[in-house]
Symmetry: C2
Subunit: 89 residues, 2 copies
């Protein structure tokens, strides 16, 4: 599935409500999911780990939707010849 | 571009170093990027916003790579008939 396609699915399902909620409150939901990912990463529950990765990605798409950012287009930063801004320490 | 394809690009470029760094230290890098996204969301700099979304997604892929999680497969949670675990408040 294309990155853009997934972002679009999230948009169709949730964008209306996401716009009403706004960026700050949506960011708080995103962070809640990031916290759940941290918990999952520290566990041995592979199924839960997979779910939490999906949740963080879905909420990242939500934030992108209400910020008018096309995540797939944004990723060309990494897929072009020059990688900028990524610190591979 | 497919979600899996992007995750693979990040894997080829960085997985060896990512594995050496390990999950806790990589999670800290991920959170640093999440913080930069928060700063970008509060600004009016659209170019920077786009870049920070890409960075957070790239580091999420990194975490998935060293956790043996296929992000595209994980996303079927949202693309099947039943959406589980997503709280669209």
């Amino acid at each position: 599935m294309h990155i853009h396609e997934f972002q679009q699915i999230i948009s169709e399902k949730y964008k209306k409500r996401d716009l009403q909620r706004g960026i700050p409150a949506t960011f708080m939901w995103f962070i809640e999911e990031v916290g759940e990912l941290a918990t999952a990463l520290a566990s041995k529950d592979d199924k839960n780990k997979e779910e939490e990765f999906a949740d963080v990605f879905a909420w990242l798409c939500t934030l992108a939707n209400i910020s008018d950012v096309d995540l797939e287009k944004a990723c060309t930063k990494y897929t072009g010849n020059k990688v900028k801004g990524f610190k591979p320490k």
